[in-house]
Amino acid sequence: MGLALLVLIWLITLASTYFFVAKTWWLPVGASSAAGWIDHQFALTFVIMGIVFVAAQLSLGYIVWKYRDRPSRAPVEYSHGNTTLEVVWTILTAVLFIGLNLMGSSVWASQRFDAAEAGAVQVEVTGMQFAWYFRYPGPDGKYGATSPKLMDPSAGGEAAVGLNPSDPAAKDDVVTGTMFLPVNRDVDVSLRAVDVIHSFFVPSLRFKQDTVPGLNIHMHFKPTAIGEYEIACAELCGLGHYKMHGMVHVVSQDDFDKWIAAREAEKQ
């Protein structure tokens, strides 16, 4: 029985570890400036926790087999513990866990405590049941006013976000269902939601932020590779949560300028 336990525990441990190490299913390739730091912290955590996982499970399996009851076994070592050991492994664990966390915090700080770089592209992301809309403020750099009374999701685009056409700042706002971004430029994103909480999640860009009704959340990120990246809504928002899907197209600055100009032209 002890042997059966050892075999099962070791098998489970080694099989799981294999798939982790082989990266059979893994993080998508990072395409943003934050990805390097985040992936590094992930790898560090992964290696440390992996070592602890393997060590703990293999020891468990071994101990359970080695100390099985047999007539030839020596009497048990009657002991209520070892205070020195307790202190040592408590301190080691604390140093390890807290140290790991502090290392990750500098990455978090640079991501979240600082504002976007000057000259960042401004985009407003609006989540609603069950679609994403993206609004660019246009040449005037100001977002036009929106009003709940003007919101009409069935009409799509500007009507969906409730853009107020009589506001002068709204005249050059471009609203699309697909997000275009220029590569290697910081994006200053304003996240909003119209009805319930959604979450703007682009795995390849290592970006996730809940969009909350009543809040306008500013975040920034910088895409570093041209490509098309999927957006998956990451907060349960109703029956269409599974199909609240979108696309981010990261293109060259030129292509982005052309695209924006084309959208502005369509508005005339």
Binding site: L8, I9, I12, S16, F20, W25, W26, L27, P28, W37, I38, Q41, F42, M49, A56, I63, Y67, R68, D69, P75, V76, E77, Y78, S79, H80, G81, N82, T83, E86, W89, T90, A94, F97, N101, G104, S105, V107, W108, A109, P148, S154, V194, D195, V196, I197, F201, P203, V212, L215, I217, E230, A234, E235, L236, G238, L239, G240, H241, K243, H245
Partner: protein, 576 residues
């Protein structure tokens, strides 16, 4: 107010007083146990439907018919709510805690037997109310067991969000009240009814776990009750605690100025202690069983007590780690993150101590021990994904993915359940006077351990690859379609594992009536429940009050006539 002794001076007569509205904590414990058993089968059935739908979205199933996306979300919501409340907060604490806390401290009953009876029947009413949510117009709610607002506050935000959602809130409120009554009873009993010689530091670790769990419950459930009342008011009385001005499907809702984050703060202030409520009793049982079946004292009894106390204490300070992505201040996130890493330390200490208990022991592989060993393995696996999620910068990638689902299922959905299995196999002889079948128990264990790992370990891979949670199907997002083979594997594993649970049920019921008769102490265990008859008499100790002279885990004491010293054995010059 009835007192324990006057209750036990005359054992009740009549079927109703003896089995329905019994004031005997042993009967009430068994009532809780069977309520949880019913709930777990309902919850498992819901999860089976979920797993089948994910792989075969268009399937039309017998009895249930077609599962629409909103139905999937209702199944998910009810699965979570029923499992967390009516299984994990009911069986370990209300079931085994009720039965064995008084006996293990040498008391004839709980401090307040009438309150105990009321707390069970209130829990029962709560269960009836939540099941009723399936059958009302609109059906069960679809907002997840976490019930984030505004989705849960707006009847028009989705099917199931009308009367079903109100019933869901009502059921949880009723459950809160029942738990608060129970917590009050457990705390008073532990502090006030210990037998002579049963000092706090001689209490079995199971008693410590029920005691600390009760304190957590006492302080946390009141907050959930408030949160639920505010939600009912937003839904039915037109207030705006949680809902700002929103537009659903082009219709402006009549709310203004509320804060969705307020719900999250209140819910998780309860929700985090709740998950410790779910796991602490399992830790207590693991310690008890590992010590008994290794024939060795628990390694570091004091450290185990302090570790559980720290887990309980820190458990109230880490709720924000569920909200890193919520729009909460990033500075708060940093604070919550550090505190969350701190809570990993006592958990690690307990794991080292469990290993230390078995080290150089003489391990006997009866079924309870297998489950305790499984508990340790699962606690390690489930616990080590915690430090990933505790770092906000990694949580960016992993929040609301299957990585989280794998994490909490390994800890709550498997480790805590293994704690319940260990307790069942261990205490069944004392409760029912018969032994459970060992070969069936072992088969059940191996199938369940392998099966649950097969279901939940792959979830970590899925999460890293970006598989978001609470999706009713994976057909819309291209990179998720590639992950379907792994999902299929998990579904097959789930079908086999759920089928294996019937081995347990058959074993349980067969053994209750036809199992071989058990002696008073079949496991040669040291704690007080094993000093009394099997099953225990009405007042637990047959009119004699136990006097305790030893600590709870005196196994392998050198020079003793046998390899265990019971807590009530005569005093010696041992250092306890």
């Amino acid at each position: 107010m009835a007192t324990p002794a006057s209750v036990h001076a005359h054992a009740p007569q009549g079927f109703i007083r003896k089995y329905i509205f019994s004031l005997d904590h042993k009967v009430i414990g068994i009532q809780y146990f069977f309520l949880a058993l019913t709930a777990v089968f309902v919850g498992m059935f819901l999860s089976l439907l979920m797993r089948i739908h994910l792989i075969w979205p268009a399937a039309v199933l017998p009895l249930v018919g077609e599962i629409k996306p909103e139905t999937y979300l209702s199944l998910l919501t009810m699965h979570g709510t029923i499992m967390v409340f009516f299984v994990l907060t009911t069986a370990p604490q209300g079931g085994f805690g009720n039965y064995f806390l008084p006996i293990q401290i040498g008391a004839p009953d709980m401090a307040f037997p009438v309150l105990n009876m009321l707390s069970f029947w209130t829990t029962f009413v709560g269960f009836v109310v939540i099941i009723a949510a399936f059958f009302v117009t609109g059906g069960a709610p679809l907002h997840g067991w976490t019930g984030y607002t505004p989705l849960s506050a707006l009847p028009s935000a989705g099917p199931g969000e009308q009367l079903g959602a109100d019933l869901w809130i009502a059921s949880i409120a009723i459950f809160c009240i029942a738990s608060l009554m129970g917590a009050l009873n457990f705390i008073t009993t532990t502090l006030d009814l210990r037998a002579k010689g049963m000092t706090m530091m001689r209490m079995p670790l199971t008693v410590w776990s029920w005691f600390i769990t009760a304190i957590l419950g006492l302080l946390a459930f009141g907050v959930l009750l408030s949160a639920g009342i505010l939600l009912l008011m937003d839904r039915n009385l037109g207030t705006s605690f949680y809902v700002p001005l929103v537009v659903v499907n082009g219709q402006i809702m009549g709310h203004k100025g509320g804060s969705p984050l307020l719900w999250q703060h209140l819910f998780w202030f309860f929700g985090h202690p709740e998950v410790y409520i779910a796991i602490l009793p399992g830790m207590g049982v693991a310690s008890q069983v590992l010590s008994t079946f290794s024939r060795k004292p628990i390694f570091g009894y004091r450290a185990m007590v302090y570790a559980m106390l720290s887990i309980g204490f820190f458990g109230f300070m880490v709720w924000g780690h569920h909200m890193f992505m919520s729009g909460m201040s990033p500075y708060s996130a940093f604070a919550f993150s550090i505190l969350t890493m701190c809570i990993g330390v006592p958990s690690a200490i307990k794991t080292f101590n469990w290993l230390g208990t078995m080290y150089k022991g003489r391990i006997r592989f009866h079924t309870p021990m297998l489950y305790a060993i499984g508990f340790v393995s699962l606690f390690v696996s489930g616990g080590l994904s915690g430090p990933f999620l505790a770092q906000p910068v990694l949580d960016i990638q992993l929040h609301d993915t299957y990585f989280v689902v794998g994490h909490f299922h390994l800890i709550m959905g498997v480790a805590a359940i293994f704690g319940i299995f260990a307790a069942t196999y261990y205490w069944f002889p004392k409760m029912f006077g018969r032994m459970m079948n060992e070969p069936m128990g072992k088969l059940h264990f191996f199938l369940t351990l392998a099966g649950t790992y097969a279901i939940f370990m792959p979830m970590h891979y899925l999460g890293m690859a970006g598989q978001t949670r609470r999706y009713s199907q994976f057909t819309e997002v291209a990179y998720q379609q590639k992950l379907l083979p792994l999902q299929t594997f998990m579904t097959y594993a789930a079908i086999i594992t759920i089928a294996a649970q019937f081995i347990f049920v058959i074993n349980l019921f067969w053994s209750m009536f036809k199992g071989p008769k058990a002696s008073d102490n079949p496991w040669e265990s040291t704690t007080l429940e094993w000093t009394t008859a099997t099953p225990p008499p009405h007042d637990n100790f047959g009119g004699v009050t136990p006097v305790v002279h030893h600590g709870p885990y005196e196994y392998g004491v050198p020079g003793a006539p046998r390899d265990y010293v019971m807590q009530t054995d005569p005093a010696t010059s041992t250092t306890h």
